[in-house]
């Protein structure tokens, strides 16, 4: 008898309830776009912002290729495995073909593969070089620049301004992304006559950086270059500044997310520090005027990189769909290749050879609090440049 009750119990608590929640999906006429965002878990701080940015863009664009757009939020909880599952479900059960966004590179790389095997189109914000390099595929596009571009468009203009800043010390995240930044930095320094006098690796789970910073101070560099991402960037910079490193060393953060990081650091720490960023709201470009206008009107905030990243992937998808005039996947991929549009960073162009969006990357300089015109006016734009590896060097074969 127990068996029967066990089945009932299991059915009641574990199996039947979700079945009741099953929803009927209809709306064949709308274009559904799956958005991979992490709303819970470790990457929720990123996912929330990307999600909002995309939603605002959907409300603004409303239609693409003559059909209504529908935003389908897929909460991957920061787990690539879950992202893969949700993508498979969306393709198999709901016939969704268009996907965008990610909160970390592992998710993007995993979803990209699903998009390729399931015949979808996916545009994301991954930082990993592999995205438009060795792991690129026909169905996937990437909006932010690769590490090669980030390093070249920050270090070169920086060196032009300070030709005497020869001695560079790096603090690098010992993971794939940090290592790519470091490798590119060494290449560029070799070309422009800089000298890499030392590096400290920190691990993905380090939180206390004073040891690395004392090592950096002892090396007496002209420039401290920080090669990592996310909250670790904030922590390294905060601690480096607290150790007085700004006094006789210039600090360059190669990869920052801009406004949201400046807000968590505060103007005092940002002052005089150089940051590389994929987006800055103060840049004068038609696409940026549109974006900041819509975001300010809807959310009453200044767009951050993460909000913009959500917007940008939506915009690119809409532009490609409009150009194709159909939701036929091969046609949309074809439309994506060579697509150019007025994006958040100016004229943006999708390169056909590796599916990289060619766009500006900025070198920003933190300004003193007294010179800030409003509460979000943290930096001046020092330079805005495009620099991309030629397609034959990316390792991408489409």
């Amino acid at each position: 008898m127990r068996t029967r009750r066990e089945i009932l119990a299991a059915a009641a608590v574990g199996v039947a309830a979700p079945a009741l929640l099953r929803q009927a999906w209809a709306q064949q006429d709308a274009i559904e776009v799956g958005s991979l965002v992490s709303l819970s878990g470790t990457f929720a701080n990123i996912g929330e912002q990307v999600d909002i940015g995309s939603k605002v863009a959907f409300e603004y664009y409303k239609t693409a290729a003559g059909k209504p757009l529908r935003y389908v939020q897929l909460d991957d909880q920061g787990d690539p495995g879950r992202a893969v599952r949700l993508t498979q479900d969306a393709m198999r059960d709901r016939g969704i073909r268009f996907f965008m966004n990610c909160t970390n590179s592992a998710i993007a790389l995993a979803v990209a593969k699903e998009a390729a095997s399931g015949g979808g189109v996916y545009i994301n914000q991954a930082g990993a070089d592999e995205m438009t390099g060795s792991l690129c595929n026909k169905n996937t596009f990437r909006w932010p620049v690769a590490t090669y571009s980030a390093v070249n468009t920050t270090v070169r203009p920086f060196m032009k301004q300070f030709p005497d800043a020869k001695k560079w010390y790096t603090i690098t995240g010992q993971y794939v992304f940090g290592d790519s930044l470091l490798k590119n930095l060494k290449d560029v320094l070799g070309e422009v006559g800089g000298q890499h006098i030392g590096n400290s690796y920190h691990s993905l789970s380090d939180r206390e950086y004073s040891g690395f910073i004392t090592a950096a101070i002892a090396a007496q560099p002209d420039v401290l270059c920080i090669c990592n991402f996310g909250s670790q960037t904030i922590d390294v910079l905060r601690q480096a500044v607290s150790f007085g490193m700004k006094r006789n060393t210039k600090i360059l953060v190669v990869w920052s997310t801009g406004l949201d990081q400046f807000q968590s650091l505060g103007p005092d720490i940002c002052e005089g520090v150089y940051f590389g960023a994929n987006y800055w709201h103060g840049v004068d470009a038609p696409g940026n005027r549109l974006l900041t206008g819509v975001i300010k009107a809807k959310l009453k905030v200044t767009p951050s990189y993460l909000l913009t990243a959500g917007w940008a992937c939506t915009q690119a998808t809409v532009e490609a769909l409009n150009k194709a005039g159909t939701t036929d996947v091969p046609a949309v991929i074809k439309a994506f290749e060579g697509l150019s549009y007025e994006g958040p960073t100016g004229l943006e162009k999708v390169r056909a050879e590796d599916h990289q969006v060619l766009k500006d990357y900025y070198l920003l300089l933190g300004k003193p609090k007294a010179r800030m015109r409003d509460k979000d006016d943290y930096v001046d734009v020092v330079s805005a440049e495009k620099a991309f590896l030629s397609p034959d060097k990316t390792g991408c074969k489409l």
Binding site: A44, Q174, S210, G211, A218, R238, S242, F243, G266
Partner: protein
């Protein structure tokens, strides 16, 4: 690598170690007194750090938080003990681990609900915003302040443990938990006091750490991992062991970051494994 650099590294390591010590000492005390493994220790630290953030927002300075936040953390610990944890005293240790683990999740989710998912900055108080230069060695004055507070805590605790009747009981209990009752203490009150005090110390660590590293919901998890390593190396329940282990880990971390930072974690957990397997009383304990 010059001798001077190594010396700086070691000095800095002592600074890190002192912070780790106040973070961990409450955990080891609670275990010593009542053989209770508290997975919510990091939650006390995190809640207090967030309280410090809120106080800094309201008053414009984090200074008052160094008094208020630890008290709030102590209150939180006390309430948790009364409402939840005391129900587990009669259960096996495994149940205590699981309940405090769940409590830590609850605290983390609640804080996220109130303050959001993204990290926040807590400005260093103006009083300590500069740096101190000691013969070419630059050190932030705020860190110096934290080390001084930690040292004061260590001395006060040493006096309390060596010179008072309560301290005698803590020492006795670390050897044998039944001593609490045998020495004529009301174990109920002792346990409440232990949680309030341990939580308060974790809270002090959290408030002091907030200007060093900002606040974010996952900080409690990281703090717990560090505290466990310290407490196990030092020997569960040992006060002087915790101090020694905290300093050792601080110095190891500071020096390894110059040699092989990726290996620092591996080494620390490797040593922790060996100690647990072969010398569970830790570095200071008698085996």
């Amino acid at each position: 690598m010059s001798a001077q650099v190594l010396l700086f590294g070691a000095l800095n390591g002592i600074g890190i170690g002192m912070i780790y010590f106040i973070l961990s000492v409450g955990l080891t005390m609670i275990f010593g007194l009542m053989q209770f493994v508290n997975f919510a220790h990091g939650a006390f630290y995190m809640v207090s750090a967030y309280a410090a953030f809120a106080i800094a927002q309201w008053t414009g300075s984090v200074l008052p938080a160094f008094l208020i936040s630890p008290l709030l953390a102590a209150a939180f610990a006390l309430v948790s003990e009364r409402v939840l944890l005391q129900r587990t005293y009669s259960l096996p240790h495994e149940a205590q681990i699981l309940i405090t683990f769940a409590l830590a999740i609850l605290a983390q989710e609640s804080v996220t609900m109130i303050f959001g998912t993204s990290g926040k900055n807590v400005p260093v108080p103006d009083l300590f915003s500069g740096v101190v230069v000691l013969g070419g060695f630059v050190y932030p004055s705020y860190r110096l302040f934290v080390v001084a507070v930690a040292a004061a805590v260590a001395v006060l605790m040493w006096i309390a443990i060596e010179r008072t009747r309560f301290g005698a009981m803590v020492r006795a209990a670390a050897e044998n938990a039944e001593m609490v009752g045998l020495l004529g203490f009301d174990s109920r009150k002792v346990f409440m006091a232990a949680f309030a005090f341990g939580g308060g110390l974790a809270g002090l660590a959290g408030a002091l750490a907030a200007p060093l590293r900002g606040v974010e919901p996952l900080m409690g998890r990281e703090a717990l991992a560090i505290a466990f390593v310290v407490v196990i190396l030092g020997g569960l329940g040992s006060f002087s062991g915790a101090l020694l282990a905290a300093l050792l880990i601080g110095i190891t971390q500071s020096l390894m970051s110059m040699i092989w930072p990726g290996g620092a974690h591996l080494m620390i957990y490797g040593v922790m494994t060996l100690i647990l397997a072969f010398r569970p009383t830790g570095l200071m304990g008698r085996s």
